[in-house]
Symmetry: C2
Subunit: 241 residues, 2 copies
Protein backbone atom coordinates (compact mmCIF):
# COMPACT_ATOMS: atom_id res chain seq x y z
CA UNK A 1 0.00 0.00 0.00
CA UNK A 2 1.50 3.31 -1.07
CA UNK A 3 1.87 6.10 1.44
CA UNK A 4 -1.08 8.40 1.71
CA UNK A 5 0.25 10.91 4.19
CA UNK A 6 2.01 13.04 1.62
CA UNK A 7 -0.37 12.55 -1.27
CA UNK A 8 -1.44 15.65 -3.07
CA UNK A 9 -5.08 16.37 -3.53
CA UNK A 10 -4.68 15.45 -7.19
CA UNK A 11 -3.30 12.06 -6.21
CA UNK A 12 -6.31 11.49 -3.98
CA UNK A 13 -8.63 12.30 -6.83
CA UNK A 14 -6.88 10.05 -9.33
CA UNK A 15 -6.74 7.27 -6.74
CA UNK A 16 -10.51 7.04 -6.80
CA UNK A 17 -10.18 6.00 -10.43
CA UNK A 18 -7.22 3.61 -10.32
CA UNK A 19 -5.05 2.79 -7.35
CA UNK A 20 -1.64 4.18 -8.16
CA UNK A 21 1.63 2.42 -7.37
CA UNK A 22 4.24 4.24 -5.32
CA UNK A 23 6.35 4.81 -8.44
CA UNK A 24 3.38 6.38 -10.15
CA UNK A 25 2.64 8.46 -7.07
CA UNK A 26 6.22 9.58 -6.95
CA UNK A 27 6.08 10.71 -10.55
CA UNK A 28 2.86 12.55 -9.87
CA UNK A 29 4.29 14.33 -6.84
CA UNK A 30 7.41 15.33 -8.78
CA UNK A 31 5.14 16.77 -11.41
CA UNK A 32 3.71 19.01 -8.71
CA UNK A 33 6.98 20.00 -7.07
CA UNK A 34 6.96 23.49 -8.49
CA UNK A 35 4.79 25.61 -6.20
CA UNK A 36 3.53 29.08 -7.01
CA UNK A 37 1.31 31.44 -5.07
CA UNK A 38 -0.92 33.76 -7.05
CA UNK A 39 -2.98 36.75 -6.01
CA UNK A 40 -6.67 36.91 -6.75
CA UNK A 41 -7.48 38.29 -10.16
CA UNK A 42 -4.09 37.36 -11.55
CA UNK A 43 -4.19 35.99 -15.07
CA UNK A 44 -2.05 32.90 -15.65
CA UNK A 45 -2.77 32.00 -19.23
CA UNK A 46 -3.82 34.18 -22.11
CA UNK A 47 -5.94 32.94 -24.96
CA UNK A 48 -3.87 32.67 -28.12
CA UNK A 49 -0.63 32.42 -26.17
CA UNK A 50 1.81 29.70 -27.18
CA UNK A 51 4.48 27.95 -25.15
CA UNK A 52 2.40 27.72 -22.07
CA UNK A 53 2.22 25.36 -19.19
CA UNK A 54 -0.55 23.38 -17.61
CA UNK A 55 -1.39 24.05 -13.96
CA UNK A 56 -2.47 21.90 -11.06
CA UNK A 57 -4.61 23.91 -8.70
CA UNK A 58 -3.75 23.14 -5.06
CA UNK A 59 -5.85 25.67 -3.24
CA UNK A 60 -8.20 28.50 -4.06
CA UNK A 61 -10.59 29.08 -6.92
CA UNK A 62 -9.88 29.87 -10.54
CA UNK A 63 -11.80 30.35 -13.76
CA UNK A 64 -11.14 29.64 -17.40
CA UNK A 65 -12.88 31.80 -19.95
CA UNK A 66 -12.93 33.31 -23.41
CA UNK A 67 -13.41 36.93 -24.35
CA UNK A 68 -15.31 38.12 -27.40
CA UNK A 69 -14.43 41.07 -29.61
CA UNK A 70 -17.23 43.14 -28.08
CA UNK A 71 -15.82 42.58 -24.60
CA UNK A 72 -18.31 39.95 -23.51
CA UNK A 73 -16.90 37.09 -21.48
CA UNK A 74 -17.94 33.46 -21.32
CA UNK A 75 -16.61 31.53 -18.37
CA UNK A 76 -15.99 27.90 -19.27
CA UNK A 77 -15.37 26.43 -15.86
CA UNK A 78 -14.35 27.15 -12.29
CA UNK A 79 -11.47 24.84 -11.43
CA UNK A 80 -11.07 24.08 -7.73
CA UNK A 81 -8.40 22.32 -5.69
CA UNK A 82 -7.23 19.13 -7.35
CA UNK A 83 -8.22 20.20 -10.84
CA UNK A 84 -5.82 20.44 -13.76
CA UNK A 85 -6.06 23.38 -16.11
CA UNK A 86 -4.71 23.82 -19.59
CA UNK A 87 -3.90 20.21 -20.43
CA UNK A 88 -5.78 20.69 -23.68
CA UNK A 89 -3.76 23.78 -24.55
CA UNK A 90 -0.60 21.71 -24.30
CA UNK A 91 -1.72 19.50 -27.16
CA UNK A 92 -3.08 22.24 -29.35
CA UNK A 93 -0.03 24.44 -29.71
CA UNK A 94 -1.87 27.53 -28.68
CA UNK A 95 -4.05 28.14 -25.63
CA UNK A 96 -7.70 28.30 -26.61
CA UNK A 97 -8.84 30.06 -23.47
CA UNK A 98 -7.60 32.33 -20.71
CA UNK A 99 -7.20 31.31 -17.10
CA UNK A 100 -7.26 33.50 -14.01
CA UNK A 101 -7.26 33.12 -10.25
CA UNK A 102 -10.59 34.04 -8.67
CA UNK A 103 -9.24 34.03 -5.12
CA UNK A 104 -5.70 33.98 -3.84
CA UNK A 105 -4.54 30.56 -4.91
CA UNK A 106 -1.71 28.04 -4.98
CA UNK A 107 -0.84 26.36 -8.26
CA UNK A 108 1.81 24.06 -9.70
CA UNK A 109 2.94 25.03 -13.15
CA UNK A 110 3.76 21.90 -15.16
CA UNK A 111 5.60 21.75 -18.46
CA UNK A 112 3.67 20.01 -21.20
CA UNK A 113 6.68 17.87 -22.01
CA UNK A 114 6.84 16.76 -18.39
CA UNK A 115 3.24 15.58 -18.51
CA UNK A 116 3.89 13.69 -21.72
CA UNK A 117 6.89 11.94 -20.17
CA UNK A 118 4.85 10.84 -17.14
CA UNK A 119 2.12 9.54 -19.39
CA UNK A 120 4.39 7.49 -21.61
CA UNK A 121 6.42 6.15 -18.71
CA UNK A 122 3.40 5.28 -16.56
CA UNK A 123 0.47 4.37 -18.78
CA UNK A 124 -1.82 3.79 -15.81
CA UNK A 125 -1.10 7.29 -14.59
CA UNK A 126 -1.81 8.44 -18.12
CA UNK A 127 -5.15 6.69 -18.04
CA UNK A 128 -5.96 8.34 -14.73
CA UNK A 129 -5.12 11.78 -16.12
CA UNK A 130 -7.23 10.99 -19.17
CA UNK A 131 -10.08 10.07 -16.90
CA UNK A 132 -9.78 13.40 -15.13
CA UNK A 133 -9.72 15.19 -18.48
CA UNK A 134 -12.78 13.26 -19.61
CA UNK A 135 -14.59 14.25 -16.46
CA UNK A 136 -13.76 17.89 -17.13
CA UNK A 137 -14.99 17.59 -20.67
CA UNK A 138 -18.22 15.99 -19.49
CA UNK A 139 -18.68 19.02 -17.26
CA UNK A 140 -18.25 21.36 -20.21
CA UNK A 141 -20.80 19.34 -22.16
CA UNK A 142 -23.28 19.51 -19.31
CA UNK A 143 -22.63 23.23 -19.14
CA UNK A 144 -23.38 23.53 -22.84
CA UNK A 145 -26.65 21.65 -22.41
CA UNK A 146 -27.61 23.94 -19.57
CA UNK A 147 -27.01 27.15 -21.48
CA UNK A 148 -28.62 25.79 -24.63
CA UNK A 149 -31.73 24.21 -23.25
CA UNK A 150 -32.37 25.09 -19.62
CA UNK A 151 -34.13 28.18 -18.31
CA UNK A 152 -32.14 30.64 -16.25
CA UNK A 153 -33.60 29.21 -13.06
CA UNK A 154 -32.93 25.56 -13.89
CA UNK A 155 -29.49 26.42 -15.18
CA UNK A 156 -28.52 28.27 -12.02
CA UNK A 157 -29.85 25.48 -9.83
CA UNK A 158 -27.91 22.96 -11.88
CA UNK A 159 -24.75 25.00 -11.56
CA UNK A 160 -24.94 25.03 -7.79
CA UNK A 161 -25.81 21.33 -7.62
CA UNK A 162 -22.76 20.45 -9.65
CA UNK A 163 -20.60 22.75 -7.59
CA UNK A 164 -21.91 21.26 -4.35
CA UNK A 165 -21.08 17.78 -5.58
CA UNK A 166 -17.59 18.70 -6.73
CA UNK A 167 -16.80 20.50 -3.49
CA UNK A 168 -18.19 17.67 -1.43
CA UNK A 169 -15.84 15.23 -3.22
CA UNK A 170 -12.89 17.23 -1.92
CA UNK A 171 -14.45 17.66 1.49
CA UNK A 172 -15.31 21.33 1.09
CA UNK A 173 -19.08 21.05 1.25
CA UNK A 174 -21.68 19.52 3.50
CA UNK A 175 -25.19 18.51 2.48
CA UNK A 176 -26.45 21.93 3.39
CA UNK A 177 -23.66 24.45 2.91
CA UNK A 178 -20.46 25.45 1.18
CA UNK A 179 -18.23 28.44 0.59
CA UNK A 180 -18.43 30.09 -2.81
CA UNK A 181 -16.42 33.25 -3.55
CA UNK A 182 -18.05 33.94 -6.91
CA UNK A 183 -19.60 37.33 -7.53
CA UNK A 184 -22.88 37.64 -9.39
CA UNK A 185 -20.93 39.03 -12.34
CA UNK A 186 -18.94 35.82 -12.54
CA UNK A 187 -22.02 33.67 -12.17
CA UNK A 188 -23.60 35.67 -14.98
CA UNK A 189 -20.61 35.21 -17.29
CA UNK A 190 -20.58 31.51 -16.54
CA UNK A 191 -24.30 30.95 -17.04
CA UNK A 192 -24.75 33.09 -20.12
CA UNK A 193 -26.88 35.65 -18.30
CA UNK A 194 -26.67 39.20 -16.98
CA UNK A 195 -25.56 39.96 -13.43
CA UNK A 196 -28.89 41.70 -12.96
CA UNK A 197 -30.83 38.68 -14.05
CA UNK A 198 -28.73 36.37 -11.92
CA UNK A 199 -29.71 38.54 -9.02
CA UNK A 200 -33.39 38.04 -9.81
CA UNK A 201 -32.88 34.30 -10.19
CA UNK A 202 -31.11 34.09 -6.84
CA UNK A 203 -33.95 35.98 -5.24
CA UNK A 204 -36.40 33.50 -6.69
CA UNK A 205 -34.39 30.56 -5.39
CA UNK A 206 -34.35 32.23 -2.00
CA UNK A 207 -38.08 33.00 -1.99
CA UNK A 208 -38.86 29.43 -2.99
CA UNK A 209 -36.82 28.31 0.01
CA UNK A 210 -34.49 26.28 -2.17
CA UNK A 211 -31.13 27.94 -1.74
CA UNK A 212 -29.61 31.11 -0.30
CA UNK A 213 -26.41 32.83 -1.37
CA UNK A 214 -25.07 35.31 1.15
CA UNK A 215 -21.66 36.68 1.91
CA UNK A 216 -19.75 34.08 -0.01
CA UNK A 217 -21.54 31.04 1.31
CA UNK A 218 -24.28 29.01 -0.31
CA UNK A 219 -26.92 27.44 1.95
CA UNK A 220 -28.98 24.63 0.49
CA UNK A 221 -32.46 24.41 1.95
CA UNK A 222 -34.09 21.76 -0.18
CA UNK A 223 -31.64 19.52 -1.97
CA UNK A 224 -34.24 17.17 -3.44
CA UNK A 225 -36.32 19.97 -4.90
CA UNK A 226 -33.22 21.62 -6.34
CA UNK A 227 -32.02 18.45 -8.01
CA UNK A 228 -35.45 17.92 -9.47
CA UNK A 229 -35.68 21.49 -10.72
CA UNK A 230 -32.23 21.28 -12.26
CA UNK A 231 -32.64 17.80 -13.67
CA UNK A 232 -29.29 17.11 -12.07
CA UNK A 233 -27.62 13.73 -12.74
CA UNK A 234 -24.21 13.85 -11.13
CA UNK A 235 -22.97 10.57 -12.58
CA UNK A 236 -20.27 12.22 -14.65
CA UNK A 237 -18.55 13.65 -11.58
CA UNK A 238 -17.35 10.59 -9.72
CA UNK A 239 -15.48 7.55 -10.86
CA UNK A 240 -18.11 5.00 -9.98
CA UNK A 241 -20.40 6.36 -12.74
Amino acid sequence: MPSTRFDSILAKKLNTFVTLSSAELKCLEEMQSNVMKVKRGRQLTQEGQTGHKAFVLQAGWACSYKLLPDGARQIISFPIAGDIVGLRSVLLRTADHSFSAVTDAVVNPVEGTHVMRCVTEFPRLGAALLWAASRDEAMVVEHLVGIGRRSALERTAHFFMELAERLSLIGEATETEFKCPLSQFMLADALGLTAIHINRVLRQLRERRLLTVRKGTVAIHDLAALRKLAGFQGGYLNSRG
Copy 2:
Protein backbone atom coordinates in the same frame (compact mmCIF):
# COMPACT_ATOMS: atom_id res chain seq x y z
CA MET B 1 7.72 7.56 -46.31
CA PRO B 2 4.78 5.40 -45.27
CA SER B 3 2.24 4.39 -47.86
CA THR B 4 -0.63 6.75 -48.34
CA ARG B 5 -2.72 4.80 -50.77
CA PHE B 6 -4.55 2.80 -48.14
CA ASP B 7 -4.57 5.37 -45.39
CA SER B 8 -7.89 5.93 -43.75
CA ILE B 9 -9.27 9.43 -43.49
CA LEU B 10 -8.46 9.36 -39.78
CA ALA B 11 -4.84 8.57 -40.55
CA LYS B 12 -4.71 11.53 -42.90
CA LYS B 13 -6.05 13.76 -40.20
CA LEU B 14 -3.64 12.56 -37.53
CA ASN B 15 -0.77 12.82 -40.00
CA THR B 16 -1.21 16.58 -40.11
CA PHE B 17 -0.30 16.59 -36.42
CA VAL B 18 2.59 14.12 -36.31
CA THR B 19 3.91 12.02 -39.15
CA LEU B 20 3.11 8.44 -38.22
CA SER B 21 5.45 5.50 -38.79
CA SER B 22 4.22 2.52 -40.78
CA ALA B 23 3.89 0.47 -37.60
CA GLU B 24 1.74 3.18 -36.10
CA LEU B 25 -0.29 3.41 -39.27
CA LYS B 26 -0.75 -0.33 -39.27
CA CYS B 27 -2.05 -0.24 -35.72
CA LEU B 28 -4.41 2.56 -36.63
CA GLU B 29 -5.75 0.70 -39.66
CA GLU B 30 -6.27 -2.46 -37.60
CA MET B 31 -8.22 -0.39 -35.14
CA GLN B 32 -10.54 0.52 -37.99
CA SER B 33 -10.85 -2.95 -39.51
CA ASN B 34 -14.35 -3.49 -38.23
CA VAL B 35 -16.72 -1.82 -40.70
CA MET B 36 -20.38 -1.17 -40.10
CA LYS B 37 -23.02 0.51 -42.24
CA VAL B 38 -25.78 2.34 -40.47
CA LYS B 39 -29.04 3.79 -41.75
CA ARG B 40 -29.86 7.42 -41.20
CA GLY B 41 -31.54 8.11 -37.90
CA ARG B 42 -30.08 5.00 -36.31
CA GLN B 43 -28.92 5.50 -32.72
CA LEU B 44 -25.54 3.96 -31.91
CA THR B 45 -24.95 4.99 -28.32
CA GLN B 46 -27.42 5.75 -25.62
CA GLU B 47 -26.72 8.18 -22.83
CA GLY B 48 -26.24 6.31 -19.56
CA GLN B 49 -25.32 3.09 -21.33
CA THR B 50 -22.25 1.23 -20.07
CA GLY B 51 -19.95 -1.16 -21.87
CA HIS B 52 -19.98 0.81 -25.08
CA LYS B 53 -17.54 1.29 -27.85
CA ALA B 54 -16.02 4.29 -29.51
CA PHE B 55 -16.65 4.86 -33.21
CA VAL B 56 -14.58 6.17 -36.06
CA LEU B 57 -16.82 7.81 -38.61
CA GLN B 58 -15.72 6.94 -42.16
CA ALA B 59 -18.51 8.48 -44.20
CA GLY B 60 -21.75 10.31 -43.61
CA TRP B 61 -22.86 12.69 -40.89
CA ALA B 62 -23.71 12.00 -37.27
CA CYS B 63 -24.66 13.93 -34.19
CA SER B 64 -24.03 13.56 -30.48
CA TYR B 65 -26.58 15.00 -28.11
CA LYS B 66 -28.24 14.91 -24.73
CA LEU B 67 -31.95 14.76 -23.96
CA LEU B 68 -33.57 16.56 -21.07
CA PRO B 69 -36.44 15.27 -18.93
CA ASP B 70 -38.89 17.57 -20.72
CA GLY B 71 -37.93 16.14 -24.09
CA ALA B 72 -35.72 19.03 -25.18
CA ARG B 73 -32.54 18.07 -27.01
CA GLN B 74 -29.16 19.73 -27.07
CA ILE B 75 -26.90 18.64 -29.88
CA ILE B 76 -23.26 18.73 -28.80
CA SER B 77 -21.55 18.23 -32.12
CA PHE B 78 -21.91 16.96 -35.64
CA PRO B 79 -19.09 14.49 -36.26
CA ILE B 80 -18.09 14.10 -39.91
CA ALA B 81 -15.79 11.71 -41.74
CA GLY B 82 -12.51 11.20 -39.88
CA ASP B 83 -13.93 12.12 -36.49
CA ILE B 84 -13.88 9.84 -33.48
CA VAL B 85 -16.92 9.63 -31.26
CA GLY B 86 -17.27 8.37 -27.74
CA LEU B 87 -13.63 8.27 -26.72
CA ARG B 88 -14.59 10.15 -23.59
CA SER B 89 -17.30 7.66 -22.73
CA VAL B 90 -14.70 4.91 -22.75
CA LEU B 91 -12.86 6.53 -19.84
CA LEU B 92 -15.90 7.45 -17.84
CA ARG B 93 -17.54 4.07 -17.42
CA THR B 94 -20.86 5.29 -18.67
CA ALA B 95 -21.70 7.19 -21.85
CA ASP B 96 -22.55 10.80 -21.06
CA HIS B 97 -24.32 11.48 -24.34
CA SER B 98 -26.19 9.73 -27.12
CA PHE B 99 -24.95 9.37 -30.66
CA SER B 100 -26.97 8.91 -33.84
CA ALA B 101 -26.42 8.83 -37.58
CA VAL B 102 -27.82 11.90 -39.34
CA THR B 103 -27.42 10.41 -42.82
CA ASP B 104 -26.67 6.88 -43.91
CA ALA B 105 -23.15 6.39 -42.67
CA VAL B 106 -20.19 4.07 -42.35
CA VAL B 107 -18.54 3.65 -38.95
CA ASN B 108 -15.89 1.52 -37.31
CA PRO B 109 -16.80 0.36 -33.83
CA VAL B 110 -13.68 0.22 -31.66
CA GLU B 111 -13.36 -1.42 -28.27
CA GLY B 112 -12.12 0.89 -25.55
CA THR B 113 -9.50 -1.64 -24.51
CA HIS B 114 -8.22 -1.75 -28.07
CA VAL B 115 -7.72 2.00 -28.10
CA MET B 116 -5.89 1.84 -24.79
CA ARG B 117 -3.56 -0.84 -26.11
CA CYS B 118 -2.70 1.22 -29.19
CA VAL B 119 -2.03 4.23 -27.04
CA THR B 120 0.29 2.47 -24.62
CA GLU B 121 2.12 0.58 -27.36
CA PHE B 122 2.53 3.61 -29.64
CA PRO B 123 2.80 6.76 -27.53
CA ARG B 124 3.09 8.99 -30.58
CA LEU B 125 -0.14 7.59 -31.90
CA GLY B 126 -1.59 8.22 -28.47
CA ALA B 127 -0.47 11.82 -28.62
CA ALA B 128 -2.07 12.19 -32.01
CA LEU B 129 -5.36 10.80 -30.74
CA LEU B 130 -5.12 13.14 -27.77
CA TRP B 131 -4.59 16.01 -30.13
CA ALA B 132 -7.74 15.04 -32.02
CA ALA B 133 -9.65 14.80 -28.75
CA SER B 134 -8.34 18.21 -27.69
CA ARG B 135 -9.48 19.69 -30.95
CA ASP B 136 -12.95 18.24 -30.40
CA GLU B 137 -13.04 19.66 -26.91
CA ALA B 138 -11.99 23.06 -28.19
CA MET B 139 -14.93 22.89 -30.55
CA VAL B 140 -17.29 22.16 -27.70
CA VAL B 141 -15.85 25.11 -25.79
CA GLU B 142 -16.31 27.40 -28.77
CA HIS B 143 -19.85 26.07 -29.08
CA LEU B 144 -20.45 26.92 -25.42
CA VAL B 145 -19.17 30.44 -25.94
CA GLY B 146 -21.45 30.87 -28.92
CA ILE B 147 -24.59 29.79 -27.12
CA GLY B 148 -23.69 31.72 -24.00
CA ARG B 149 -22.62 35.02 -25.48
CA ARG B 150 -23.41 35.37 -29.15
CA SER B 151 -26.70 36.49 -30.69
CA ALA B 152 -28.67 34.01 -32.76
CA LEU B 153 -27.36 35.55 -35.95
CA GLU B 154 -23.72 35.58 -34.93
CA ARG B 155 -24.01 32.10 -33.50
CA THR B 156 -25.50 30.68 -36.67
CA ALA B 157 -22.88 32.39 -38.81
CA HIS B 158 -20.16 31.02 -36.56
CA PHE B 159 -21.59 27.54 -36.80
CA PHE B 160 -21.46 27.58 -40.58
CA MET B 161 -17.98 29.08 -40.64
CA GLU B 162 -16.66 26.32 -38.43
CA LEU B 163 -18.46 23.69 -40.46
CA ALA B 164 -17.05 25.12 -43.71
CA GLU B 165 -13.55 24.98 -42.28
CA ARG B 166 -13.90 21.43 -41.00
CA LEU B 167 -15.36 20.20 -44.27
CA SER B 168 -12.73 21.99 -46.27
CA LEU B 169 -10.01 20.20 -44.26
CA ILE B 170 -11.37 16.88 -45.50
CA GLY B 171 -11.92 18.20 -49.01
CA GLU B 172 -15.68 18.40 -48.80
CA ALA B 173 -16.08 22.15 -49.13
CA THR B 174 -14.92 24.89 -51.46
CA GLU B 175 -14.59 28.56 -50.57
CA THR B 176 -18.16 29.13 -51.70
CA GLU B 177 -20.16 25.97 -51.16
CA PHE B 178 -20.64 22.71 -49.31
CA LYS B 179 -23.22 20.00 -48.73
CA CYS B 180 -25.05 20.04 -45.44
CA PRO B 181 -27.83 17.53 -44.72
CA LEU B 182 -28.94 19.14 -41.47
CA SER B 183 -32.58 20.08 -41.06
CA GLN B 184 -33.58 23.32 -39.39
CA PHE B 185 -34.73 21.28 -36.41
CA MET B 186 -31.23 19.92 -35.98
CA LEU B 187 -29.65 23.32 -36.43
CA ALA B 188 -32.04 24.61 -33.78
CA ASP B 189 -31.17 21.86 -31.30
CA ALA B 190 -27.49 22.48 -31.90
CA LEU B 191 -27.64 26.24 -31.57
CA GLY B 192 -29.98 26.43 -28.60
CA LEU B 193 -32.78 28.00 -30.64
CA THR B 194 -36.17 27.10 -32.08
CA ALA B 195 -36.53 25.72 -35.59
CA ILE B 196 -38.81 28.64 -36.33
CA HIS B 197 -36.25 31.12 -35.21
CA ILE B 198 -33.49 29.40 -37.14
CA ASN B 199 -35.64 29.83 -40.18
CA ARG B 200 -35.86 33.56 -39.59
CA VAL B 201 -32.13 33.78 -38.98
CA LEU B 202 -31.41 31.94 -42.22
CA ARG B 203 -33.70 34.31 -44.03
CA GLN B 204 -31.79 37.25 -42.61
CA LEU B 205 -28.47 35.74 -43.68
CA ARG B 206 -29.93 35.27 -47.13
CA GLU B 207 -31.36 38.79 -47.36
CA ARG B 208 -28.05 40.24 -46.26
CA ARG B 209 -26.43 38.30 -49.11
CA LEU B 210 -24.11 36.49 -46.73
CA LEU B 211 -25.12 32.85 -47.05
CA THR B 212 -27.91 30.75 -48.54
CA VAL B 213 -29.05 27.32 -47.38
CA ARG B 214 -31.14 25.45 -49.93
CA LYS B 215 -31.84 21.80 -50.59
CA GLY B 216 -29.05 20.51 -48.44
CA THR B 217 -26.32 22.76 -49.73
CA VAL B 218 -24.89 25.89 -48.17
CA ALA B 219 -23.72 28.65 -50.49
CA ILE B 220 -21.38 31.24 -49.03
CA HIS B 221 -21.72 34.64 -50.66
CA ASP B 222 -19.51 36.82 -48.51
CA LEU B 223 -16.96 34.89 -46.51
CA ALA B 224 -15.18 37.92 -45.09
CA ALA B 225 -18.37 39.54 -43.84
CA LEU B 226 -19.52 36.26 -42.31
CA ARG B 227 -16.27 35.70 -40.44
CA LYS B 228 -16.42 39.24 -39.16
CA LEU B 229 -20.03 38.89 -38.07
CA ALA B 230 -19.30 35.59 -36.34
CA GLY B 231 -16.02 36.68 -34.81
CA PHE B 232 -14.67 33.44 -36.20
CA GLN B 233 -11.10 32.43 -35.32
CA GLY B 234 -10.53 28.98 -36.74
CA GLY B 235 -7.17 28.41 -35.10
CA TYR B 236 -8.40 25.56 -32.96
CA LEU B 237 -9.34 23.49 -36.00
CA ASN B 238 -6.03 22.80 -37.67
CA SER B 239 -2.75 21.56 -36.33
CA ARG B 240 -0.66 24.56 -37.27
CA GLY B 241 -2.36 26.60 -34.52
